[in-house]
Symmetry: C2
Subunit: 439 residues, 2 copies
Amino acid sequence: MTYLNETHDPKLRSWVESANAEGNGFPIQNLPFGVFRRINSAEQFRPGVAIGNQVLDLAALAEAQPFSGAAAEALAACTGDSLNALMALGQAHWSALRLALSRALRAESSQQPLLAPLLVAQDDIEHSVPAHIGDYTDFYISLHHATAVGKQFRPDNPLLPNYKWVPIGYHGRASSIGVSGQRFPRPVGQTRPTSEGAAPNFGPCLRLDYELELGVFVGQGNAQGERVSIEQAESHVFGLCILNDWSARDIQAWEYQPLGPFLSKNFASTISPWIVTLEALAPFRTASTRAATDPQPLPYLFAAENAAAGSFDIGLEVLLSTEKSRAARAEPAVLSRSNFKEAFWNVAQLVTHHTVNGCNLQPGDMLGTGTLSGPAAGQEGSMLEMNQGGKKPIELTWGEQRMFLQDGDEVILRARCEKAGYPAISLGECAGMVLPAQV
Amino acid sequence: MTYLNETHDPKLRSWVESANAEGNGFPIQNLPFGVFRRINSAEQFRPGVAIGNQVLDLAALAEAQPFSGAAAEALAACTGDSLNALMALGQAHWSALRLALSRALRAESSQQPLLAPLLVAQDDIEHSVPAHIGDYTDFYISLHHATAVGKQFRPDNPLLPNYKWVPIGYHGRASSIGVSGQRFPRPVGQTRPTSEGAAPNFGPCLRLDYELELGVFVGQGNAQGERVSIEQAESHVFGLCILNDWSARDIQAWEYQPLGPFLSKNFASTISPWIVTLEALAPFRTASTRAATDPQPLPYLFAAENAAAGSFDIGLEVLLSTEKSRAARAEPAVLSRSNFKEAFWNVAQLVTHHTVNGCNLQPGDMLGTGTLSGPAAGQEGSMLEMNQGGKKPIELTWGEQRMFLQDGDEVILRARCEKAGYPAISLGECAGMVLPAQV
């Protein structure tokens, strides 16, 4: 595989012992970036990189100037309260910093004495949204989700004629994106009138749902008017996180025509704190899972290398805990499992499509994938799919049922790459909780 | 009228002589805010206020500390490269600064010797986008536009059942918003297949259009989870500008189902450089033009005072120049004239609706009104309406025709408030030009 370099050597071990524990998810082959400070401290939020159950304080490391060349330049960009400056430097710098960090954290590195005092236990930190997100775009790249949901809104016409040609996307709300641990009141709004011609209903959302997504962080942007080719697209991507695009289905059904979802989506979106770089994900590249009967993408969305290795094998998981389950100290219930590789469009295609009209992406912009449902039962990325449009309640292991989310429910999304002979690469966790409506 | 104070006295005159010229649009009763620097200079962009054909440098004025109390605090927020800090302070501060500026610029003000050296001729300046726009939302508040365009996309069902209940809106793209003078290449993209089931067409947009809108700048925001009541909504609004929401109709028709417009809109949006405060517009308040047969808004969107005086009488105008007209030194052709007061929803209703679900607005966010077409012929806010869906070309006075925009076309939007006995209040001009596609 052309993507692999010395940072991907599965035999690498770190002097941070917890990073070597099997399946810990943050081995030295991962090195995801986030922004953190000590819990409840008045410290400035600052960039860090996860290693085992620790985080390395990059702002403090930058003061010591331990690296040279591009790695030093990249580290010097890690002193603010977001990753935007690092993102703006581009792939060569990200890669140089990853290599320097990999060498410095490697077992028997001479830099251990310098770095060891700059570790903070992950249990002792809190995160902020890791980048200033200028614009947030949400796509719709799971054919399985589009088909399942399309059936409920348009029974006769689930998959529209544009789906297999256009990576369907729309703009989301950046201001209400929060980091894992986000809590938000149940949204209030208008819903469809009970009888045709009557006034709409108004009140707390009765069909509150999650959406299992990944977030793609743009690194280097493009100038307005200039396109990013499919061959160049991935070099503009800093990395991936997990995204829960909370959705008020009843508000959505009433408001979404003709201009798309709005208040049904923009009350809150939650992301995981760590951004795993595309370079860290390279061992999990895979071919597109498009069917041979699907049309070939238009030329601007097609490159042979991208079709062969532009998708990523990332296992996804949705868990739910409730007030009752937490009181009973029951483990969260696994609602579904899916995989990013099932998506119809891939990361490079999203970047290229987004810029084909000259739209400018900027460092820190986030592209949501859309709900990542798989083809089979048990792989649904939302409750709306599991409950078949609000008809079939979901049975929880401790005896409760759910049609949609209730107050106090916590949704936990996890993402993780696993394969034989390589350490597991975790994208961490994205948790969020629904509070009662403020009416 | 309860909205009037001493800054609205129509007899006020300024020691800046050009501000007293009849109909100049920037009299001492206006005092719009923008961000500027001398043309082609390396100066930092900084806030200024327009007066006659001059701009008063607020950053320089802040150094002199000429005001006290809230006005001084507001002026001290005018030293960065955007208006966001001033916007965040809230209405009482904006109003105090306006009053202090009005008094300082008034004929025979003792502060003339201090301020006069801080004036720069508007002919000598260039503007930046006046605020850092975190999120841009576009609404759809003209019933006339929604009906006319709805007929073309959905002949049998032009106005959807939600229209008179929900202020329909969707999220736009903040990164590609530019200030008057913006030039952008014609967007490229996918359009509907020529025959059903065939591959889509791909190439430069063939139906490029403008949209005549106003932009509403949010001043003070709201915390996530907290609603802004209809009574409080206007206190969160800093002011209005003109907005051209350029639209690629053929790209839109193919991509917009089911999640709304995306690449058809996000390649460029152009705004006028001056933000006219709601306080400056107070003399032009008017009642809603809803018909008596229209439903009363739901309670959260209704307040008696808002219904009586929450709309604004702002005359709007679209002009077009072409390469040919400019070569012939012909005046731009007036394509249409409309008025903001015809809108179905008003400014306060947009803010309240946007936050009813707990969505947080932030200082500098912009809400577009949507295309502000009037009810009659000659009042269309887009070419799509004038040409009846691409069927009837528009005749230009110098002998050309246009179905949609051609390369080199410049669209100029103007907005202005006029009434007997009061100086005209201009929102300035929003000009933008289409360049050839980059293919």
